[in-house]
Point group: D3
Chain length 341, copies 6
């Protein structure tokens, strides 16, 4: 296999800490050749830090250069996922785009359609798919150990985790709050257990009382004056085959745990808790709780980047693909619409 | 105050274990004068056991007797709540009726209207209202310690608690399964935190996969062949003021705990867990978890019976009254309708 | 089925607390008609307490009486198991004999042979066979969940449990100490997992250092001067098919737990701990610990007495039968021989 | 004291991680002058890493060089312990040999005899002797706190610890499996509590069912096709003075803990658990559990290397000497013989 | 020994629940012949309940009757300990008096002197002396295991334990609050570890802020209006030999535990915690925590009553005698004086 | 603000590990220009390590140099706190002096007076004031949440923490033992809760039995021959407003914890435990335990150095000032006097 050339757009910490190290760890498959950031100095500094040859402040320059990339890793803000991904696809690049897919359903659908037309890979970086726990959960599903899965509680809850930095409370840039930033992770995991169907009924409520009131923060101090997004979102999704998801996401919620990211999966044969992974089922005619204390931790970004590259190489993988991204974004849009009434 | 005369209709264990002992413990307020059961021998045996003078197999006989009761305690099966309550009200008795109020919204509304017209007390025995934990929760709400309550998770979950006795799986007699038998308890508690409003949006799903498949039971063995009701119910209720409830009820669910009856209440100032009672809030600018290890246990049936008698005596109480019962029953009906589509 | 007539020989606490209540709880199958004790007054008192019609001080009288028993429950001291059982069989009674079967291998073999010749049931009261945990363990074995079981650690260990009453330290009456009184229980359970084979190699050591030195007792104070038996026994049993048992029994041992009765079973597919019941195996390619927190407790004496009566009625049961008793006693004898060298 | 010159034979991780750092930490007593490995390049690289002057691929060359070593540290595979130790002794070197001593009893006896004849130190690296816990256990023994020690349970159990690297499953190179690789450690500790006597009776069983079947590994993946050794070994050792050892060792066993290395020591006055160190005894007429939560951790390889060097300097030490090594190897051989029958 | 005749003065729960049952359990040593209470009906009822022949409302009547008692058990209120004890001694009775000895130092000294002159036993019912834990503590002291004991922290702390019944908050009847009612128990235990010396320096503070403010009670509701005693007392006692006690007692204190009755004893060789009994010392050159999980619970009132009767019979015992009571009361007086300044 | 010039006197680990790093972390406020140590080479090495320009062996030289410091950080031994602080003040420097303030009350009073006359800042480095826990405790006090604080238990206890290095057991250099080295920290915290009043009554006892006997050490081995100070100190302080402190400090004490540094604060409305911070109070009429699991750890030396610099800049701070230091030292002196009698 030829070694693919990858370029990064966006010079923030997700590029620095996650994507570049993962790509650098796979030298037989990919080479990072450029970093592109609105702030060229930032691009240059980051490139030097990681031994990347080129730095740009405009992707177009990159596409026209000799060392045109094969792959774009889109690490920009949410509202730039669409334009930079479209541009990359138009320049015949595979795109590995950060989550959420886009700002709304239409954008995500367009992106998926263009990728299909261009026969390029477009995928989204939902790296929680790669934990040992979720892999085991999927294996149990596929082996039939859960029976029919009919209800899932999906939570991504922070007690006081409104970030005091970045644009997390800016609706124009982010497109929303706890749901679009955090909830999408567990929504993706839950949909992965239910054939990634589109629900036919959704009712949802969103809130911003804590965000707008201010208070003690555990991820720095946020400014309640400029808080524009939801701090909490609670939704019920019902699917045509009568399965259902109860989704809860929060930046701020008066609850016990500082962070609670989990799935409870209820099937006809067994139920499962994702973290710590536990199965509740029958065995030899008795009820058993199955614990798995020896699961090994893995580098989930490395596994997700590998999955993306496998897809680029035509191999099957469990990456979140463009079609799934479009479904996810459509659900997010419907949840927000339901909450606004 | 004169001592009121009470009669029991229905000779099952709820009469024997809960209502009669509670009434007997309040001799200054009430006297149990009769027990009425379809099976007269059963009525007689129970009456002798508790030192009750009269036993009947037909309430009409009782209403026409000399010792006509002032109060009827309706301990019959769900499908008899309506006829025996209507009959009792028509005979100018106060009625203390077991939960759920009735089989459907229309019945409960009729019952409330008749009670109003007759100027008699009609109340429902939701005794979980009387725990120390719920009293404290209500006090926190009333003192403003929770701020605005906007979301409640209400659970009444059994892992394998389909009763192997009685009519719990018979839809004609019970009107439903986990929701109407168990879920109504925590729905009542949750509504009590939200001014007992009527939600304007409801989406719900119900299931019967475990009940119909059979398996290990922890409350005796049930017959999957005759299992007609839902073993699980998950619903989202959204209210006009944007508050919401996520309700989960199960007879059987592949989950950890044998029994999980709880409320998680999320308010703008504080959150609360009902059992064990805990508050999550800020204090002196820091996040605190407030535990209450010295709450004393109380006899909740005795307290609820006292509340009913207080109402009969014209005093204020926290009993579930006829209007609340009608709201509750209407919600239950809508949940079932939503689940059936 | 006709109701069988049972008589008890031996008037100690095991008759009073275990056998008589169990028999009385099964009135459709058995009637206790007599109690026989060397001390006739004791027999009479016990009979009156339990509503038993006849009391004797000599079994012969009983066999010759009108109400000759069908069943003898032999609750005498160890050294009387043999004579009273032989006598009962000779009088054509089924015999339910307390453990251990006898004082030595020859006695137990004789007893088994006579029972066979007389076509009567002879069984031993190893009631630990009837716990929910052991039933589940056997079910796992039979379902093949353990694979081939190849090694078992069987422990019945007391820290300081030399009884300060009875004849437990008298070798002439008891035939031995910790092994014959306690170890036989877990040896029986372990053999039940290995087709109750006879081992072809045994090495064992027994000790009496604590028993003869004296010290703090947790079951009353014992007299070190008259301590004649082993306080500890450690043995390795190797079977022709290469499976093995490591057996440990103690009346007194300087160890943590006051009482430790357990089996660790090692199979090729899974391992099991008996108490609390846990399975260690693979599931979906990962290692799992399976816990069973919802096992229900049962009345093990009642279940064992039922099993005995089932056997008398010609039904299959999991009672310890005469042949198994003979194997067990032969092993005990070999362990003592190995320890004496 | 002159500084002794040491050379390492064998360039694997035990040399790299354990022996060389320990020797380098004792510059006043010893200097590492050479590393010898079949693969000279490996020897050179390792030498450079640790600042060792010479590298060889043949020990003979080393013995004939100017800088002839005084000490040989034999870090080779089990089947090379004998030839390289004999060679080193013949060249008048002290030898610090990795465990196990040899492949069989005859080799170990020869090695001990030659060392004696040559008046050179031969010792084996059983570094678990140097833990604070074992030191305290020995001190309790020597102070008489345990009374007479009569039974020891010695365990070195791994749940799924068949190494996926090296030669651990190759019988020709290793001489065996769990016993010779792991069990020898705790056997050495147990023998150290019993005057390092030779048992007069041994019965043992070994197994390979998991190793040959394959499955989930926690130390990499092993190849069941080439698995030639025992994955489990259970033995009972009885000594002429009637003390006994129950030894259990496993590479793979369906049990709870990933790794369980422990001794339970039963004495007439007290019992002891090695990890965490606890004494079970009487005090002031009552039973007490004595815990030692403030034991300090030490560098056990450094302490064992120091003990070896002390021996070379004619000082007493608690190193495993050549005679003990021969006893240990003879016991290992007898265990394997018993298991084969 | 002749059987002594005992009479009870005071008909409250301490007579009913503690003293009479203990005396009745010792029929070979003592017979309860009379109960005397200000309220004769109460005396009669109590006598009938316990099968006691005589009931009086005036002790003089009793002393002049035929069945004159040998022993008086003084169960009256604190302010009646003195007059009834003096009266009993004057009538040549042994006296077993409830704690505290008296209302002040002078009373207790007088009582001791009269007992000495009359050659009668006067003892106080400090039954905490009889716990297994304190017996073991004393044994350790006597065996020299603690070395020289130099400091003791003695606590009898209740979080919110101001009794809502009785006279506990009435200074005229009780003589004080937390110190004289609760603190005396642990002060007695601590003094028993220090040869019951008289301290030469005392400094103390007492408080009543919670008692006078009112609040949630865990032993019923108290009336802050009539709260006259200390709710907390903290004192430091220094003895001529330089040992010291830090004493803390409370009816109400904002602390974690509902009830905390304990001693921490610091000696030169070892320290001890009373509950759960633990020793902190050195063993084999290492620091050890010695736990005693197998201490058996005993009936401490029965043991204390037995000790009193032994004293009456001229046998040695560990009862709190008249001289010790006088020392204790003198210390209590000095503490109150120091707190008042 | 101009950047102040700081010089360090004393080259030990407290300068190296605490003060210099903290000062270097505040480059906008302070510059470290010199280090002065009796051993000039040590001063030079330390200066080079931290990039400090000048090194001296005599402070006078420093004061006369061009780069005369504005601030002296006095990190010398206790007996040098006085002379070097006086000298520094006389040279018009602010002084940040290590704890304890001085060797006796007179020294500390002189130091405070001179600082006042020179209008310079003199402060002491009690850095435990800066923990999040103590800040929260003070905030609760100031907000009135504790009501009136009336009793404090202040503990700084080590089980076996007599340092095996330095001068900690030398009375001439240290001025005392556990009290002056450890106890002063918690005494300072406790006084800070009580308006830093002077107590009017003190009784204390000090001990040296363990220190002089020798034994196992957990902070190295100490020499019992040269042990001159107290290993334990227990004192009761009573204040004019009737509040009180019970103070306990130890280098060595036979107790459970290796180190126990804590305050228990008892107020009329609430009580508090410092570590882990917990409040015990009433809420909504019930007793609550308030935990604060999300307190963030901070660099307490950095915060205390900042507080000192703020004071130098004329800003308010919570530093221990010269007057408080004088009160503290006077109390320490009185405790020692009380203990000596």
């Amino acid at each position: 296999m030829p070694i693919l050339k990858a370029a990064i757009i966006g010079g923030g910490h997700i590029a620095d800490d996650n994507h570049i190290p993962a790509l650098k760890a796979l030298p037989d498959q990919v080479e990072v050749i450029a970093i592109c950031s609105r702030d060229k100095q930032k691009a240059r500094t980051l490139a030097d830090k990681h031994g990347v040859p080129f730095a740009y402040d405009n992707p177009l320059e990159m596409y026209e250069s000799e060392s045109k990339p094969d792959i774009i890793v889109n690490c920009t803000a949410n509202n730039l996922h669409y334009p930079f991904t479209i541009q990359a696809l138009q320049h015949d690049c595979h795109v590995f785009c950060e989550k959420p897919p886009a700002m709304n359903a239409a954008e995500a659908a367009d992106m998926a359609e263009l990728a299909k037309n261009k026969e390029k890979v477009l995928a989204y970086n939902f790296q929680l798919r790669q934990t040992e726990e979720y892999s085991l959960l999927k294996k149990c599903l596929e082996n039939g150990e859960l029976g029919k899965v009919y209800h899932i509680k999906a939570n991504f809850l922070r007690r006081r985790g409104i970030p005091g930095w970045g644009n997390f409370t800016n609706k124009t840039i982010q497109g929303g709050g706890a749901l679009i930033d955090l909830g999408v992770h567990v929504l993706d995991l839950a949909l992965g257990m239910l054939d990634y169907q589109m629900p036919d009924r959704i009712v949802a409520n969103t809130y911003d009382l804590i965000g707008k009131a201010g208070g003690k923060g555990l991820m720095g101090d946020w400014n309640p004056e400029t808080f524009e997004v939801e701090d909490g979102c609670f939704a019920h999704l019902s699917f045509p085959n009568n399965s259902s998801i109860s989704l809860s996401a929060s930046f701020a919620l008066n609850t016990k745990l500082q962070k609670n990211v989990n799935l409870e999966v209820f099937g006809s044969k067994a139920g499962a808790l994702l973290n710590p992974f536990t199965l509740y089922t029958e065995f030899a005619g008795e009820l058993t709780d199955m614990e798995f204390p020896h699961l090994e931790q893995t580098d989930i970004q490395l596994k997700n980047t590998t999955a993306f590259l496998d897809t680029c190489a035509g191999k099957p993988s469990n990456i979140c693909n463009a079609e799934q991204g479009a479904v996810l974004q459509a659900i997010v849009e419907k949840i927000y619409q339901s909450a606004q009434r």
